[in-house]
Amino acid sequence: MGKAVKAWGWAAVLAFTLVVGACQQAKPVVPKGVAWNLSIDAALADAQKTGRPILLDFYTDW
């Protein structure tokens, strides 16, 4: 439980960083949480549109 919560926390921190990094030259954006894709195909489709890399998080519910 503790580890899973930590992982979510860090994923959120990382997502925040990536979003901020991407928006550095645009107007400041307040992130509203992470819009995770739940399939690789959806992520690839997004990435091809935006040209940005994909962060693929393999997790389990153990």
């Binding site: 930590k6 990382l14 997502a15 959806a42 994909i54 998080d57 393999f58 997790y59 153990w62």
Partner: protein, 208 residues
């Protein structure tokens, strides 16, 4: 970004050779892998690693490009071996671990025993118990002061146990307790010996 339950989307997990959790794989927009992060790390370290990878530093591809110039440096070879291992390229990992053993016979790097131990465990996963014992035995013969000296004994006992050679395994576990009574793994060895004693007795009872 995508979050995948590796137990549900087993096809994608297998495609990226994911064996440990969590595994974070960074991909180029075309889907080819940049590199990966295994397990947990603190946020600053995690972010630094992602930034390194996105800048093309310390990736598998970057290391492979350096083989020609650094291929004889034990530290580099160990990094490369671990990188291959983390990516699930076990044959390539094994080759590099054994290359380190050749390059640093006196274990100046202090990593040769780790390399041999990992090779022994890889063979155990392949159920090649003779090879497990061979490489764990090399640690015992060559590096009696190394960190992996004691775990190598347990690895050898475990190989006999998995092979069904319970009496041999039990004797080795008991030897371990005798030689290293204060070791943190001594209770584990004792427990294994006791479990095997029960199994051996049950087997003999059945046969009678």
């Amino acid at each position: 970004m995508a979050k995948l339950n590796a137990e549900v989307d087993t096809t994608t997990a297998a495609k990226y050779r994911v064996r440990a959790f969590p595994t974070i794989v960074l991909l180029k927009p075309d889907g080819t892998e940049i590199d990966r992060l295994l397990g947990y790390s603190r946020a600053p370290e995690y972010i630094r690693q992602v930034e390194d990878y996105l800048a093309g530093r310390n990736t598998l591809a970057a290391l492979e490009a350096e083989i020609a110039t650094k291929g004889n440096d034990p530290e580099f070879v160990m990094n490369l071996a671990e990188k291959y291992y983390g990516h699930g390229y076990f044959d390539k990992a094994r080759t590099q671990y054994l290359r380190l053993v050749e390059l640093d016979p006196k274990n100046v790097s202090g990593q040769v025993d780790d390399a041999l131990y990992t090779v022994a465990r890889m063979y155990r996963k392949d159920k090649d118990y003779d090879s497990t014992r061979k490489y764990a035995g090399m640690i015992i013969d060559r590096y009696p002061t190394a960190d992996m000296f004691r775990p190598a004994h347990l690895e050898i006992a475990g190989a006999w146990r998995r092979q069904g050679e319970w009496k041999t395994a039990r004797k080795l576990y008991l030897d371990y307790v005798k030689h290293f009574p204060d070791d943190e793994d001594a209770p584990y060895a004792r427990e294994q010996a006791d479990t095997l004693a029960v199994r051996i007795a049950a087997k003999n009872g059945k046969g009678a």
